[in-house]
């Protein structure tokens, strides 16, 4: 007898939910690490955006584990910790994820240089969005030097973060395959 209907469908054992949840947690922890890095005088007022590096990498290589709400929650954590503008970075991250959906295929066909250049545009975009929103709502322009420093440091750290994340992903896949 062939049993059919929704109650006899094969169970979905390979759910993406745990990984999606893990991505949110890791992103939030990285946002908190950004807060910790601010304790170093060298990064005072302009920490590298580690959560953005992570979000960009995961949206590029593992898009099924990234939901829009992931960007929102990671950005909101940053906003709560060190932004005057609640929702500023959260909105910027959501826009980033929309843009990544649109650009992903083209980026994956290019080499690392293309990805890095695109990331530079993304960092500028995220900071510029915050800067415009901040200036419009506060009717004041903050000091530009820390903003540029933050962009520069994030761009310099991107290749390091990319390699570390790729290596971790590779190791994680090997463990999954072997088990």
């Amino acid at each position: 007898m062939i049993r059919s209907g929704r109650f006899f469908q094969q169970a979905e054992l390979e759910s993406d939910w745990p990984f999606q949840f893990l991505v949110i947690i890791v992103g939030m922890v990285l946002a908190m690490v950004e807060g910790g890095l601010a304790l170093w005088p060298v990064f005072y007022g302009a920490t590298p955006m580690l959560s953005l590096i992570f979000l960009y990498w995961i949206a590029l290589h593992h898009e099924k584990y990234v939901l829009l709400v992931t960007g929102f929650l990671i950005g909101l954590t940053s906003d709560i910790l060190f932004s005057d503008l609640l929702g500023g970075r959260a909105t910027a991250y959501i826009i980033l994820l929309f843009a990544m959906n649109w650009r992903r295929q083209k980026l994956l066909q290019g080499d690392f240089r293309d990805i890095w250049v695109e990331f530079a545009v993304v960092v500028f975009g995220v900071v510029l969005f915050q800067l415009v929103a901040f200036s419009a709502l506060n009717l004041a322009i903050p000091a530009v030097t820390p903003v540029l420093f933050q962009i520069g440091v994030t761009m310099i750290l991107f290749p390091i973060g990319y390699v570390i994340l790729s290596a971790l992903s590779f190791a994680f896949n090997r463990i999954r395959v072997s088990t």
């Binding site: 005072y44 959260a90 506060n138 030097t145 820390p146």
Partner: protein, 304 residues
């Protein structure tokens, strides 16, 4: 495509649109400064702060280690410098004791009110300013310890800022370098009043000084006590640069290296703290009036 899949896609699109709208409107709601949102934000900070503390423990450890290495490397030179500084401080202490006694006598003659209505409470800084858009720090003390909105935050070197949000276990301090911080001040040598304004950078700018005021580089800038929110006479910084009518002030406190701060609890009685903006408490005196000194203002900035 099946109808159920179509419905799923439609639901997802609606959810995405709602999320974008919510996230965007959060910026405006946050700026509108609703009390409920402020409490929610401080509640979230209360929740997140212990995790940030935990995550930053290794980072703090590395910083301590680096500091230790730097200290060992310069131990001998540091010792010589400290001995010289110690003898100089002893001389200053004797001078301070003489001045303090003289000050007490003068106060008793003038009948001035002592500003010592506040109790210092030591608090640890959990975070530091990490973004270019806000200069605030979370400190590990909250309403449980009696901290209120408007309490000044200082170190031994001078003013750090002012408590702007209070949670149960943590409080948020707006630093003097924040773009929204406007501190009523006076120049130490001439007593001309002005306002320091932050710009989310390492320096402050000194504005609303009368034309006659001629600040010199290195001159100390102190809180004036206008409005009674901040005590009078707390060092804010030193004039760093005077150029093209713009006056730059370097903060007295090294804001990049804040581990512990003192919160001055109490002394905000009678001040409306519901919507605290320091600038609201300070009105520069009119340009046309000749007398621009602090006539009719006592030591805590109250009009007599």
């Amino acid at each position: 495509m099946r109808a159920s899949e179509k419905a799923k896609i439609r639901q997802r699109r609606i959810a995405h649109t709602l999320l974008v709208v919510f996230s965007f409107s959060l910026m405006f709601l946050g700026k509108a400064d609703f009390s409920a949102l402020r409490h929610a934000r401080m509640g979230a900070s209360d929740f997140i702060a212990p995790f940030v503390d935990l995550v930053s423990a290794p980072i703090r450890g590395i910083e301590t280690m680096a500091q230790g290495i730097r200290t060992v490397a310069s131990l001998r030179a540091e010792n010589v410098r400290l001995q010289a500084e110690n003898s100089m401080l002893k001389r200053w202490r004797r001078r301070a004791e003489i001045l303090e006694s003289e000050n007490r006598q003068l106060r008793s003659v003038a009948g001035a009110v002592s500003p010592d209505r506040r109790r210092p409470l030591t608090a640890r800084a959990v975070t530091a300013p990490g973004g270019a858009f806000a200069h605030t720090v979370l400190v590990a003390n909250g309403s449980e310890e009696g901290i209120e909105v408007g309490n000044p935050v200082v170190t031994a070197d001078g003013l750090v800022g002012l408590v702007v949000d209070v949670g149960v276990t943590h409080a948020r301090v707006l630093m003097i370098s924040d773009i929204n911080a406007q501190i009523p001040v006076i120049l130490s040598s001439s007593s001309w009043p002005g306002v320091t304004v932050g710009n989310n950078g390492p320096h402050l700018s000194l504005r609303f000084l009368p034309d006659e005021a001629a600040p010199k580089a290195g001159e100390l800038v102190l809180t004036s006590g206008h409005g009674g929110v901040l005590p009078a006479g707390v060092p804010v910084g030193r004039v760093d640069l005077v150029q093209d009518g713009k006056i730059r002030v370097r903060p007295a406190v090294d804001l990049r290296n804040l581990s512990y701060v003192s919160i001055l609890v109490g002394g905000t009685e009678g001040i409306d703290r519901a919507d605290l903006e320091l600038g609201d408490y300070y009105t520069p005196l009119p340009e046309t009036v000749e007398e621009r000194l602090f006539e009719g203002v006592n030591a805590v900035g109250e009009r007599q």
